[in-house]
């Protein structure tokens, strides 16, 4: 989901910028700059990859980082039970076995999941990885000393909601069984067909209990992946070298081409794009995992075919939208919400986000990825630039014939694309329908604290939601499940919708283990929710980023929309 600010993003989430989409014209194959077909992972080894990022690496502990599909940089260090299959396009939205031999065996109506570990898997110090290490890694993520990970396991595992982590509670979580060093069994309190997708998160990475230093583990987490930490200066640099005990034979998904990977963070986005585009010296080997292309380079693409070949077009499922609190006036009246839906000008909103190259107008809450169950609908057609006449009509019916004044909360900064630029586009669009919008900028770091607490939630706010994994579940449940309304803070069901029929349908879909069947049901649920105008979807994200002159096989994977550092080569 989203919580971009919480995420320690360089490492973890795909950032706001990271998305991109199927409909991004014919470019999607250009990511590999024509070398994809000829690329041979067996001969790609060598060189140093430079990673230039905006967001500081503030966390490296696998318990604390919040990732979609195990992250890009974290996935170089941590192997997990399953991982994303790293395929381009829609094929890349599926999980693949990583430490486990398969995607897991569900039983008891998908309430019990059993995994077996591969042979020949080792930590960076040569110790074999056992199922107990994976169990311990998950238990650590429950410790209040190590906050930040995704909340799902706490909700899903039997009797784990109040578990306080292995430091306070060394008995561990009874719902995770390790009958032998190669087997791990999870007991869930409800059916969860998406369990193999969640098992890609870094919380499923093994942690050797003997090497656990608690909060200090962050300084040098023990690697199970192809690289290990050589040096790490928090928020500044992270240098990785090869892990001698990783074996490619057990890990066909990570090609691990460069000998070294140096990450520099805290850079300005314009600087990153400029450095990669120019490609002087070491910058020829440079990539970024959190910076989308800027207007400077976009304007050059037509006249500079060499640069155009160095642009990766991926897709990360994410929607930027207007959220309403349907418990407060005037948004309790569906006609007001519909009026705003009709009045919205998606062209100016897309432009505010950086134009059609990096965002696409969206009338559905689910972004247009098949894996999420996307079904097109447009119940309140606003056209490209809004339908203020229809909006005025609805406002008059709702008792506001002379217009209406509302306040729109937004982030004070544009970095995540729901800041002042998008807010002023909304303001200008609604003006035509007689709706006066006052802007309420809220500091980025406090934003989710303010909007996520029902007592302080603004009636109308700009929001962003990205997929924790490519499925409808992590997209619709936190936003529309009535049982997910959290009054103490951290709430994302901003509409405060608690509809028993919606809740029941969510439970029914969760029990489905066939993704195709589940997709159709999630899509239908989204379309049903759309009729209530609980949100005004504005745009979905497209991920367009540059890579250096020497970089090969920079093909965005379908899960994260970014090229995968475990697969690029600089040889």
């Amino acid at each position: 989901m989203r919580r971009i600010s919480v995420v320690s993003a360089a490492l973890a989430l795909v950032l706001a910028g990271t998305a991109a989409c199927s409909s991004s014209s014919g470019h999607s194959s250009s990511g590999g700059s024509g070398t994809a077909a000829a690329f041979d992972p067996k001969t790609c080894q060598g060189g140093t990859l430079e990673v230039l990022n905006q967001d500081s690496i503030s966390k490296l502990d696998p318990a604390r980082i919040y990732t979609s599909g195990g992250g890009n940089i974290p996935s170089l260090l941590f192997r997990t039970l399953t991982t994303r299959n790293r395929e381009p396009g829609q094929d890349g939205t599926k999980p693949a076995p990583d430490l486990a031999t398969d995607l897991g065996t569900p039983s008891d109506n998908a309430q019990t999941w059993t995994y077996h570990l591969k042979d020949g898997i080792f930590f960076e110090d040569g110790t074999p990885i056992t199922s107990a290490d994976i169990k311990y890694g998950i238990e650590r993520s429950f410790a209040p000393e190590l906050p930040g990970g995704a909340p799902y396991l706490r909700d899903w595992l039997v009797n784990a909601a109040n578990y306080q982590g292995p430091y306070k509670d060394p008995d561990g979580i009874a719902a995770i069984e390790t009958p032998d060093p190669k087997t791990i069994i999870f007991h869930l309190r409800k059916p969860e067909g998406d369990f193999p997708l969640l098992a890609t998160a870094t919380q499923f990475a093994p942690v050797p209990k003997a090497k656990d230093t608690g909060v200090d583990y962050d300084k040098h987490p023990i690697s199970s992946g192809p690289y290990m930490v050589a040096s790490y200066e928090k928020n500044k640099t992270l240098d990785l070298v090869r892990n001698p005990h990783w074996s490619a034979a057990t890990d066909p998904l990570r090609y691990a081409c460069p000998d070294k990977i140096d990450v520099t963070s805290g850079l300005d986005p314009a600087v990153i794009n400029q450095r990669i585009a120019t490609g002087t010296g070491q910058d020829a080997n440079a990539v970024t995992t959190d910076t989308t292309i800027g207007p400077d380079q976009l304007a050059q693409l037509n006249s500079n075919p060499a640069l155009a070949k160095r642009v990766a077009h991926g897709e990360f499922p994410a929607t930027t939208y207007i959220a309403f609190d349907t418990k407060v006036k005037p948004f309790d009246d569906i006609r007001v919400r519909e009026a705003i839906s009709y009045a919205i000008n998606r062209t100016t909103a897309v432009n505010a986000a950086g134009g059609t190259a990096v965002a696409g107008a969206s009338t559905t809450f689910l972004p247009p990825q098949k894996a999420l169950g996307y079904q097109p609908y447009d119940y309140f057609p606003a056209g490209a630039t809004g339908n203020p006449a229809k909006a005025k009509e609805l406002l008059a019916q709702a008792g506001y014939p002379n217009g209406l004044t509302v306040t729109l909360a937004h982030q004070s900064d544009d970095a995540n694309n729901f800041g002042p630029k998008v807010a002023t586009a909304v303001q200008d669009a609604l003006k035509a329908a007689g709706i006066t919008v006052n802007l309420n900028p809220i500091d980025d770091n406090r934003y989710t604290d303010v909007t996520g607490k029902p007592s302080t939630e603004p009636g109308m706010s700009l929001q962003y939601w990205g997929a924790d994994w490519p499925s409808g579940a992590p997209f619709l449940i936190p936003i529309f499940d009535g049982r997910e309304i959290i009054s103490s803070g951290g709430n994302f069901n901003l509409a405060q919708l608690n509809d028993p029929s919606v809740n029941a349908e969510i439970d029914a879909i969760n029990a489905i283990t066939d993704p195709a069947q589940a997709q159709a049901r999630w899509g239908a649920l989204d379309a049903k929710l759309g009729q209530q105008a609980l949100t005004v979807p504005l745009f979905y994200e497209k991920d367009v980023s540059l890579f250096g002159k020497n970089v090969k096989n920079a093909v965005p994977d379908g899960w994260r929309g970014q090229y995968d550092l475990a697969r690029v080569s600089v040889k």
């Binding site: 800027g294 976009l298 100016t348 432009n351 950086g354 134009g355 900064d413 002042p420 802007l439 900028p441």
Partner: protein, 320 residues
């Protein structure tokens, strides 16, 4: 906010106490004859007129500051204005803003209101605070003097930009932003004016006519107003003319850093800030606010220089 001390030492001695003050008309004439000062005045007058007449000018153009024109920008290339020179046309005299397509001329003339208004307001406040504190320190006893002088030193020693960012962040959103900006800039930037005023006061208080006024029983406030203040006019006016551009830069700097006026209100600093990512695809977006800012700063500097030359009694070159 960053007030240079060289500026403070610019105007050297006070007026000769023995000579009668020069008639106002003469000063004015000399100022007009000074070519640099006259140029400065003309530009400043024009800028002020533009700011005052902003609604009229935009009405004449037929645009406003907030309406977005998506049809005038190329969305596929990130929102670069269509057409040459950033979309200059009969309808949009200076072109349009990238991404939004908002009219640049309208934003520039309304931005002048913020930039000039904040700078002039802050300068007036700085002069008011600085002169009051300076005279009080100069005329007061040793205790008052050292207390006020230390306070002055303190404000001069503040990392003012950091402090301004902090102050701007804690002021509630309901207070008008330009007012907050002017007050914050003034509060952090009166130190040099106070020092200047104190120095002048110290040198004037030993003059015979001041001593005579004191001996004849004039209350301190009267001494300050009637005997000291006229002697401060020259250096203070000169210095104030230099403060205006400094304050404009402060406003632009704070808006550039994102703690100035809030969108969609335009200001030159905020336009420049947004322009940094556009300087190659749309150079007009940087040149327009940058040029306006440059011209205004130049005008005030020319004027300040002219004022100093004109009012300086040692300067006989113009008078001749």
């Amino acid at each position: 906010m960053t007030v240079t001390l060289e500026a403070a030492t610019g105007p050297q001695p006070g007026p000769d106490p023995s000579s009668p003050p020069r008639p106002r008309g003469a000063t004015w004439r000399r100022l007009r004859q000074d070519k640099a000062a006259a140029t400065g005045m003309v530009i400043i007058t024009l800028m002020v007129l533009v700011a005052v007449l902003a609604p009229l000018l935009t009405a004449l153009e037929g645009q406003d500051t907030t309406t977005q024109h998506p049809e005038l920008v190329d969305s596929a290339s990130g929102g670069t204005p269509l057409g040459s020179l950033g979309g200059v046309s009969a309808a949009h005299w200076l072109g349009v803003e990238p991404q939004t397509g908002r009219d640049l001329f309208a934003r520039l003339v309304y931005g002048a209101r913020i930039s000039l208004g904040v700078a002039l307001g802050a300068t007036a406040l700085q002069v008011l605070i600085g002169v009051s504190v300076g005279i009080a320190a100069g005329l007061g006893g040793r205790f008052v003097d050292s207390a006020l002088s230390r306070l002055t030193d303190l404000t001069l020693a503040f990392p003012s930009v950091l402090f301004a960012i902090g102050l701007m962040a804690i002021v509630p959103g309901s207070v008008p932003r330009p007012l907050v900006l002017a007050v914050v800039i003034a509060l952090l930037g009166w130190g040099a004016t106070a020092r200047l005023a104190r120095g002048q006061t110290l040198s004037l208080r030993t003059r015979d006519y001041v001593a005579a006024a004191k001996l004849s029983g004039a209350p301190p406030l009267r001494v300050a107003r009637r005997e000291i203040l006229p002697g401060l006019v020259t250096p203070i006016i000169t210095y104030a003319a230099l403060l205006v551009p400094t304050n404009m830069i402060s406003e632009a700097g704070l808006s550039f850093l994102g703690v100035g006026v809030r969108p969609p209100t335009p200001s030159w600093g905020q336009m420049l800030s947004a322009g940094t990512t556009w300087f190659r695809p749309d150079v007009m977006y940087v040149l327009v606010p940058g040029g306006a800012l440059f011209l205004t700063l130049l005008a005030f500097t020319l004027l300040a220089d002219g004022v100093r030359r004109t009012l300086d009694p040692r300067n006989t070159e113009v008078a001749a």
